[in-house]
Symmetry: C2
Subunit: 431 residues, 2 copies
């Protein structure tokens, strides 16, 4: 059985002592940082290069075994960052030997200098790792539009390469954080052809989060032996109900990057040529679970979030319609503020369904909070109970169900509430 480990390694609130400022850890954070085992073929190191933050790590270097296969999905923004453009181009080669990630600066909207900077980093990293520049992948997150001080990254690479070690997952998750209040990671195992393989993933993101994708970086690694084409198919299918089903503020980043690396250095298993191979079923289920776990950690760290909100839409005209309705609700400031205020204001759900533009029939629409039907047959439910409805929106996790009564389309998305914390964080992020 695939499973996603949740056991303790270190409390998130400990923060490695490296994050000196910022708001308190989200009340929705997992109780502990999961225990990620070392993975054959992957060595990690981090350092504080002083890119923007002081006294916290901001560069991650991952060295990958020769032959490591890679897949990726990226932001659909028309103003994508320089490292996104680089990675999209280099992905064609299908092989990766190095991953460099920095926080503090997104290297987005930085013109030709931005692309030159990525190339400079790739050249230096390839020299350090003994590979080709096109096998170096890079991601950057932080402020948009400020020149990335690439020299600060370049000068630490050789030291970092010497310091790399198996493990180091917690340090890696820490180094890629920006406004995150806790590091995000998950691990899972699965059998391929009777051989146990492991998947480890880390992620960052808490604001500018919306499908396709989010200000979100995530790097997932496995010791399985899978070709890039198979990895890509698994990844592209896996993000639909996970990273593409979360939204914090409807704002899509210029930098969203999700990459999947397979070293092939675990136990020997049968060759896999197609994602539809039955030997891959358990792996894919494990990967899907891990992606969802990471995506939900991002929502749980939504800027200012006090509540995790799940929205299930059923009986819509199509799956696409269901998702658009779910996102209309999930992105509605009025819905999000009402839930922040423990207000079972289902009228705002009606409003958000109505504004989605998708087919809806007032008299067939049914809305439930935590299983309690609040509206149906075109009006407030006859058995509506204010206390029950209020209780359903007053906890840390709120489940909203919307049945359109029209067709077979369904979708599930997650978001968080909209609180004073979001305003606090984003009214002064640059300063």
């Amino acid at each position: 059985m695939p499973k996603t480990a949740k056991s303790t390694q270190k409390a998130p609130s400990a923060q490695s002592g490296a994050k000196s400022t910022g708001p308190a850890v989200s009340p929705l954070a997992p109780k502990s940082f999961p225990k990620l085992p070392p993975l054959a073929g992957i060595r990690l190191a981090t350092t504080a290069a002083g890119i923007r933050y002081q006294q916290r790590t901001d560069v991650l270097l991952a060295l990958l075994a020769p032959g490591t296969q890679v897949a990726g999905v990226f932001t659909k923004s028309r103003t994508a960052s320089a490292p996104v453009l680089w990675c999209q181009d280099k992905l064609k080669g299908g092989e990766a030997r190095v991953l460099v990630v920095n926080s503090g600066n997104a290297n987005a909207f930085t013109g030709k200098a931005g692309l030159d900077g990525v190339r400079d980093v790739a050249n230096e990293a390839s020299a350090v790792a003994g590979c080709r520049p096109q096998e170096v992948f890079m991601a950057s997150t932080g402020v948009i539009g400020e020149p990335l001080p690439t020299s600060k990254i370049i000068r630490v690479l050789s030291d970092l390469a010497r310091q790399t070690a198996a493990g180091n997952w917690r340090a890696a998750a820490d180094a890629i954080m920006t406004t995150d209040t806790f590091p995000k990671a998950a691990t899972a195992t699965a059998n391929i052809d009777g051989v146990k393989v492991t998947i480890n993933g880390i992620a960052k993101g808490s604001g500018m989060i919306a499908p396709d994708m989010a200000t979100m970086l995530s790097f997932v690694f496995t010791d399985a032996n899978l070709p890039a084409s198979v990895l890509q198919e698994c990844l592209s299918a896996g993000i639909g109900p996970s990273f593409n089903a979360i939204t914090v503020d409807s704002d899509t980043s210029t930098s969203d990057t999700l990459m999947l690396f397979a070293t092939g250095k675990g136990g020997k298993h049968a060759a896999i040529a197609k994602a539809s191979d039955k030997n891959l079923t358990e792996f894919r289920r494990a990967l899907d679970g891990l992606l969802l776990d990471l995506a939900l950690q991002v929502v749980r760290d939504g800027e200012g979030a006090q509540k995790l909100i799940r929205i299930d839409v059923t009986s819509a005209e199509s799956d696409g319609a269901a998702k658009r309705i779910a996102l209309s609700v999930a992105n509605s400031p009025l819905v999000k503020t009402a839930i922040a205020g423990n207000d079972a204001n289902w009228g705002r759900i009606v409003m958000a369904v109505g504004k989605s533009g998708e087919a809806a029939d007032r008299d067939l629409l049914k809305i439930s909070f935590g299983g309690h039907v609040v509206a149906e047959k075109g009006m407030r439910a006859v058995k509506y109970n204010e206390a029950t409805a209020t209780k359903a929106v007053s906890g840390r996790e709120v489940n909203i169900a919307i049945d359109l009564g029209l067709g077979k389309g369904k979708a599930r998305v997650w978001t968080c509430d909209l609180t004073h914390g979001y305003i606090d964080i984003n009214g002064s992020y640059r300063s």
Copy 2:
């Protein structure tokens, strides 16, 4: 020359003594309530019927001269309110004798009872006014999903009818407010065929404001003599750059209603059969100006608004693309919170342009704050000055210009910043 009067009648902060609670008057409110003259053929009265609020007026009755012509535009929500459905249906007749508006309850998602309620009110109002029920129009604004206590409206109608008087515009604007912090009105005059006619308008709205249209009610009256078909054409054309170019929170109401009534009881002028009649040019310009004035008052009263933000998009692929880009920026929580914090965070403009899905070329994009170019040629402008940029986003009015460098499409939209006030108001609106 058409003009929109702005002269003083009473300070908005005076609030008629009728609105006992709620946040302070928006700092963006006009300095004074405009002086609206009586209009021939229109009599108004208001009362406190206790629909939801205590000790404030919540019902407006307008009696209109026989033969009054009417046009209207309404929310595109798929879950439109009962009075919206009623008005859309009765508009076909083209004539109006009565307008009844209540605040405190939207009569939306109230099922068959909601529609029965509108019919009951229309029946009573038609008896009081001596007209047919289909000549009675109604609008409701307030909480969604709670049954409207129509009996409270019905029982005040005959007294209200006796109390109607010419003028009373300030009282009318007060009675339709919900979370508004100031009453909204505008007046203008124009010549048709050398004869002076007058246009008076009132509006309400401050949250759940987004194009097509807003939690927005507006009623515009003129003493000009114009057939319903001409009124409709003028109104439909006028809302594009006014009420359909404003957004507070991207949330579209179930109740948006904008109606235009023409009594034909002013000075005699040549008959007008087509909206394109040259004799109507000045009137249409005056009407457009008045609609924009009212729409901007709604944004100036955006829930929690501290700043009025104008977004001009030029050189987009098409006007439609320009508008979608402008709205993507205007609805971005990250843009709105940055401006609330006096943060010239133009990177978030780049993000919002990028997420719109419309064509954009990083190297052609030019962004200005208050005329100061902050980004161009794919990066921060060479002459970028942080102090100048910060000053440009620190006042009560912020102008953002985005040039795509691609085509001839352009659009202008207005929004407001996103502040703690919005969270305060909307986390506890129902309670």
